[in-house]
């Protein structure tokens, strides 16, 4: 007996939602940023094409004024590493580096990130070659459900970049904004230590 082909094959929930979002934008029409001769630059309230500098590349993305950096990354640029969990700056799941500093991308308006380097967890793998910090997370078994992990990794990366060989106390200070319901903190600290000892940032 042959199994009939699944009509949904090739269309993931994500690509379906993305398609609908683009259709929605098209119907509202894109408005260009208006700048009066002697007045300030204004955006919105409709959608705009802006350019964000993400992981070293300039990426065009359509956003509204109310679109957060997190939503621009996830829905506009298909960079779904940063997670939308609390969406209120309380959990750290959406942590990315902006100007090299960890921020909650759910509280940053996408337009505020124009012209500023954004680094997401996707930057930490070149093809099949993972960053030493990712290897350390795997080696130390520093994740369970994995939902907080992209944010944990980015805060850990900032901690390593700023401190070189951080103490446990400094790790606690720097990772205080990342919550893990599975309680993997101890292993995350071990992964940071392992990366620092290997000299990897």
């Amino acid at each position: 007996m042959t199994v009939p082909p699944d009509p949904r094959a090739g269309v993931s929930r994500r690509s379906f939602l993305k398609g609908s979002a683009v259709a929605g934008l098209a119907s509202t029409g894109l408005t260009a940023a208006a700048t009066a001769a002697d007045g300030p630059t204004t955006f919105g309230p409709g959608a705009h094409d802006i350019v964000l500098t993400v992981n070293g590349a300039e990426r065009k993305v359509a956003v509204e004024t109310r679109t957060t950096l997190l939503d621009a990354l996830r829905d506009g640029l298909d960079l779904t590493g940063a997670k939308r969990i609390c969406d209120r700056g309380a959990c750290g799941g959406c942590t990315v580096l902006l100007d090299g500093q960890p921020v909650n991308s759910c509280l940053v308006l996408a337009i505020d990130a124009i012209g500023r380097p954004v680094q997401t967890v996707e930057s930490l793998a070149q093809g099949d070659l993972p960053h030493p910090l990712l290897e350390a997370f795997v080696h130390c078994d520093a994740l369970q459900c994995g939902y907080c992990t992209p944010g944990m990794v980015m805060s850990s990366l900032a901690c390593l970049q700023q401190r070189g060989r951080p103490t446990r106390e400094q790790m606690q200070h720097d990772l205080a904004g990342n919550l893990c319901r599975c309680g993997t903190y101890g292993r995350v600290f071990a992964a940071i230590e392992r990366t620092a000892q290997a000299g990897g940032k």
């Binding site: 007045g39 300030p40 630059t41 204004t42 955006f43 919105g44 309230p45 409709g46 509204e64 004024t65 109310r66 957060t68 969406d87 209120r88 700056g89 750290g92 942590t95 902006l98 500093q101 960890p102 921020v103 909650n104 509280l107 940053v108 308006l109 337009i111 505020d112 805060s155 900032a158 606690q172 200070h173 720097d174 990772l175 205080a176 904004g177 990342n178």
Partner: protein, 326 residues
């Protein structure tokens, strides 16, 4: 979030003009504002961003007279790390900045935003409740409701507490703030930023509509000045204070020559306490600090669930005083 027009001024005069348009709010880091806009507690037609003015409104600098200027857009992370704050006289300010929220938030949260943020009262911050705050309803719901984090003193018809960590140390240091409105610059004592008779219907601050805070100024400190900041909370990190205390003391030959005690998180405004005067001309001692801590909470009238704040708050006052005189 409701759609809005986003205004990016190129200079302060453009920001000044844009801020005075109807249905407009000012935005710095946006930590508190974006949160409230997502909750639809605030649905402005226009948001004026001050972030393009970082060069003018940001940064931390030592001024000619030895005082320190904190740009309104200086982040809490900058306060935590800047060498100008690495002195015993400003330790309380640095500690307060470093203990606020999380690293991610401190990297975006600004000095002015911290001072001007809305109260964390869960009735005020919920679209579902209509309380006296902002004139949304007839009465304060926390008085008869869940008030474990609310005021124990200095309140009238609204028992919210002021959540700013920076306000107590800045008040203890007698800081000033500069604003711009309609092209005019004004510099006033920080105490004037907060209402003297905080009411539910009145805002948490005394700024006029469209008035832009441009900087905070910490006056020069004598070499023997010390400040410290202590707070109680339910979690070791990333939590709001349940009680907070900033103190400033100047010691001369082991005797307290000047002293200020400011409480946070216990009243609708940050609260300087006259009890600090009890220390003048005295030598630091545990007994003296206990007396000051008791007197600092004179007149406290806790609600049904927050009596602990008086007990814990006194311990926090003692801790701040001990650290400042160590």
């Amino acid at each position: 979030m409701q759609p809005f027009t986003y205004v990016l001024p190129e200079n302060l005069s453009q920001a000044d003009a844009a801020a005075r348009q109807p249905d407009t709010v000012l935005k710095g880091g946006g930590i508190d504002l974006v949160d409230r806009m997502k909750e639809r507690l605030q649905t402005p037609a226009r948001v004026v961003s001050l972030l393009p003015l970082r060069a003018e409104l940001g940064g931390i600098a030592v001024e000619a007279d030895g005082g320190v200027r904190l740009g309104a857009l200086a982040t809490l992370a900058e306060l935590e790390r800047h060498p100008a704050l690495a002195t015993p006289a400003l330790a309380g300010l640095r500690e307060a900045a470093a203990s606020t929220a999380s690293p991610q938030l401190r990297n975006r949260a600004t000095v002015a935003g911290n001072l001007l943020q809305f109260t964390r009262c869960w009735y005020v911050r919920s679209e579902a409740f209509r309380c006296v705050h902002g004139g949304r309803g007839p009465t304060c719901l926390a008085v008869t409701g869940d008030n474990r984090y609310h005021a124990v003193m200095g309140y009238s018809d609204c028992v919210r507490v002021h959540p700013s960590n920076l306000a107590p140390p800045l008040l203890a240091l007698d800081a000033e703030y500069t604003t711009v409105l309609e092209g005019k610059t004004r510099r006033r004592k920080l105490a004037e930023l907060f209402p003297s008779d905080p009411r539910g219907q009145a805002p948490e601050h005394t700024l006029a509509a469209g008035e832009i805070v441009t900087a905070l100024h910490v006056p020069p400190q004598p070499a023997s000045a010390r400040t410290s900041y202590a707070e109680s909370r339910e979690k070791q990190s990333f939590d709001w204070a349940t009680t907070a205390c900033a103190v400033r003391v100047v010691l001369d030959g082991g005797v307290i020559e000047a002293a200020t005690v400011v409480l946070g998180a216990v009243a609708p405004v940050p609260l300087p306490r006259p009890a600090a005067r009890l220390m003048l001309g005295q030598k630091p001692s545990a007994a003296l600090f206990q007396k000051v801590a008791d007197a600092a909470f004179t007149g406290a009238l806790p609600l049904s669930q927050n009596g602990y704040k008086v007990t814990v708050g006194k311990a926090i006052v003692r801790e701040a005083l001990e650290r400042a005189t160590r």
